[in-house]
């Protein structure tokens, strides 16, 4: 999620190793920029991920939150 609303950083399938490798690099780069990987898991639930899950349908990179 960014200033444009959101940007698709990578797309992959479990069977496509090359696409997943590219997604892994992008995931690492975004974490380096301070983004946090989050996998939405339906109503009321989400999971924080430190490694890119190969089988996840969607991983959202979000910025940290802080008290205002």
């Amino acid at each position: 999620m960014d200033q444009t609303g959101h940007t698709t950083l990578a797309e992959w399938t479990a069977a496509d190793d090359a696409a997943f490798e590219a997604a892994l690099r992008e995931f690492g780069d975004q974490r380096g920029l301070g983004y946090i990987g989050t996998v939405p898991e339906g109503p009321g639930k989400a999971t924080h991920v430190r490694e890119l899950p190969r089988d996840a349908e969607l991983v959202i990179m979000r910025r940290p939150i802080a008290g205002g």
Binding site: G44, I65, A66
Partner: protein
């Protein structure tokens, strides 16, 4: 809502006690006692002055005004956490609205489009998330807490700001409440009258959901 995950942002506030249900009940009692402490003396002083010396009525009215204004200011502070914030990236808002909508159920999506607030049921109560803050209506709907909390990126479109808070809340509800700054606790009606008119139906819905 998941309670097994720990919000990574908790590492930035290691000194804080976990904001769990017990903490919220205790804090609500403290706020209630504090409200009585700064209103009752003004009321007693005002009544006593009129009773002892009717000529002191103007001063007594000033004391009574204090008893009314100070709680109103606190409630205003609570309601302000969900007021729209500046600056914003309006150009990205339609895209951000789409992503946020995908994270919500039908009823919550409609409520968000009408009021600007996202309703989310949790274990601590029913949450309303805005661009730069969150309201928590406690179970039963008679008490609420207001929190200042936001994504650290200030240039995000409004719906993206809410989506950040929603995802963090869904990862770790207590962690979310712990990271947030507590701004107010009190009766929902006190906050409702200070909220922008378009947001009030969201608080009504949250109270119904919490009751």
């Amino acid at each position: 809502m998941s309670t097994h995950q720990v919000l990574p942002e908790l590492a930035s506030v290691p000194w804080r006690q976990p904001t769990d249900a017990h903490w919220l009940r205790r804090w609500a009692r403290i706020w209630h006692a504090w409200t009585l402490l700064y209103t009752v003396p003004f009321i007693c002083a005002g009544v006593a002055m009129i009773w002892l010396e009717p000529l002191a009525t103007p001063v007594a009215l000033a004391a009574l005004a204090h008893a009314w204004i100070i709680p109103e200011l606190y409630a205003f502070r609570g309601a302000s956490v969900v007021r729209p914030k500046q600056p914003r990236s309006a150009a990205g808002e339609p895209v951000a609205q789409g992503l946020l909508g995908d994270l919500l159920g039908h009823d919550e999506r409609e409520l968000q489009r009408g009021t600007g607030l996202v309703l989310e049921r949790g274990e601590l109560g029913v949450w309303l998330l805005g661009e730069g803050g969150a309201l928590l209506v406690s179970p039963g709907g008679r008490r609420m807490h207001c929190f200042c909390v936001r994504a650290v990126e200030r240039e995000l479109p409004p719906s993206d700001r809410i989506a950040h808070l929603l995802l963090a809340l869904r990862v770790d509800e207590e962690g979310f409440a712990t990271v947030a700054n507590h701004a107010f606790a009190g009766a929902p009606w006190r906050v409702r009258r200070r909220m922008p008119g378009r947001m009030r139906p969201a608080l009504d819905a949250a109270r119904r959901a919490a009751g």
